[in-house]
């Protein structure tokens, strides 16, 4: 659109001056200007009485539903119009100067407002024009393929044959609390007894027969405890290979073994 398009195109608001919806207007100046321009009134000779009446009538219906601030703006203008009307009724000098016309200030404001409506049209044009230029990156790259509607070609038998391939869900594992508690000390004495009999003990042997996690933990702690006491050595050839427990420093091992024996007896 051309920036110099006429600002006041009365047809854009195809409404009668007497049936005005205030929503369309930015404010009282906008409404007033519409009343004047849509009736081809000479802005330098506004029939204040007629315009005031039209302005107030436009206001009447909607004033109560309007937000208070907006209503105030319209009412202020209505008051100004009534004041001008009153001033015009006062006796005037024989040769009235324009600057003494009570309407002069209002006309100046109206024309100024209209002037900026022209600017608004320029900006609208520029905005629309700018909207037709695109920078890089707006067209989506590698668009996601649209999912075409799939026609259902399966029969019930097909469906069931596929369904049959889905494995049965495993029965829920019953979690039972271990019926027996196990202590690290028990594992320590077991380990000692085994070490006394054989040259080396598989770590697995300490807990496999029981198969519970508690036994594995107790066995590990027992092995670590004895290793700390240097009663045994732990060997593993490579990660994840079997773990072997071998007797450590014999003297100390025996000494602690004796102590362990007594502990066992107390138990």
């Amino acid at each position: 659109m051309s920036p110099s398009a006429p600002a006041r195109d009365a047809s854009t608001r195809s409404i009668e001056p007497f049936q005005v919806s205030l929503e369309r207007f930015e404010g009282p100046l906008d409404l007033l200007l519409h009343l004047i321009r849509s009736q081809d009134i000479d802005i330098f000779d506004i029939p204040i009485a007629r315009i005031t009446e039209q302005f107030v009538r436009a206001l009447e219906d909607e004033l109560e539903t309007m937000p208070i601030e907006r209503a105030g703006e319209f009412l202020e203008m209505a008051a100004t119009l009534v004041r001008i009307k009153a001033q015009l009724l006062l006796p005037r000098p024989e040769q009235p100067d324009w600057e003494e016309d009570p309407r002069a200030e209002l006309v100046r404001r109206l024309l100024e407002y209209e002037h900026f409506q022209d600017v608004v049209h320029v900006l609208e044009g520029a905005e629309a024009q700018r909207g037709r230029h695109f920078a890089k990156g707006y067209v989506e790259g590698r668009p996601v393929p649209a999912l075409a509607p799939v026609e259902l070609q399966l029969t019930l038998a097909d469906f069931l044959s596929v369904a049959a391939r889905i494995p049965e869900p495993a029965p829920p594992v019953a979690i039972r609390p271990p019926s027996q508690t196990v202590t690290v000390d028990e594992k320590v004495s077991l380990l000692r007894r085994l070490l006394a009999k054989t040259k080396r003990v598989s770590f697995d042997r300490l807990f496999r027969p029981w198969g519970t996690r508690a036994h594995a933990v107790a066995a590990l702690l027992a092995a670590l405890e004895l290793a700390r006491q240097q009663a045994l050595r732990i060997e593993q050839v490579k990660p994840f290979a079997s773990i072997w427990l071998l007797p450590g420093d014999r003297k100390r091992a025996q000494a602690t073994a004796a102590a362990a024996e007594t502990a066992e007896e107390i138990e």
């Binding site: 110099s4 600002a7 324009w98 600057e99 024009q129 707006y138 067209v139």
Partner: protein
Amino acid sequence: MKVEQIVEATLFASQTPLTADEVARADENLDAERVVEAIRTLRDAYEESERAFQIYQLGDGYQILTRPEYAPYLERFDSVPRAPHLSPAALETLAIIAYRNPIGRIEIEEVRGVSASSVLRTLLDWELVEVVGRGEGLGRPLLYGVTRMFLEHFGLKDLSDLPAPDELPVVLGELQQAMEAELESAEGLELESSDGPDPESSEDPETPAAQEEAEEEAT
């Protein structure tokens, strides 16, 4: 490596407008002057080879944008933004600020006849206007001006791309003559057009809006 190609690569890779100084950061041998010169050369080259894009000046920045005649094709893509539209209130307020720059809120409201505080807040949020100083009057009111973003949004090089006040259909100058006496008595009405945009503007490089105008004249 040719200067034009360095400038071209920099502008091509950027998603926002770059000033000549910003482009010049690409190479030690570049300065703003050489960048502007290179942009001119590139523009001519694009023009000559009928590229679908051109380098446009938006505010004090340069950006590679598609030419407007290709908009209908690009708009078929969902990801391409529709032409943005500001509300009438926002446009009205921007129009006043652009032409009366710098201006306070009260003066804006006098012209519009309605409150401007909420629309000003929105425009500040969108960085279309900014506080440019404080007035002399009571309470030292904040003064507003339009921003670089304003120029970018409307595709303007600078405010001189807007028509001078006396080029608009409603010319306040005539009114000024008609009401000279009133104006003399009432100070500070500021109907002078001296604050408004300067009608003189250099031809090159064109801004999108200015170019459209030229195209319309041609057809």
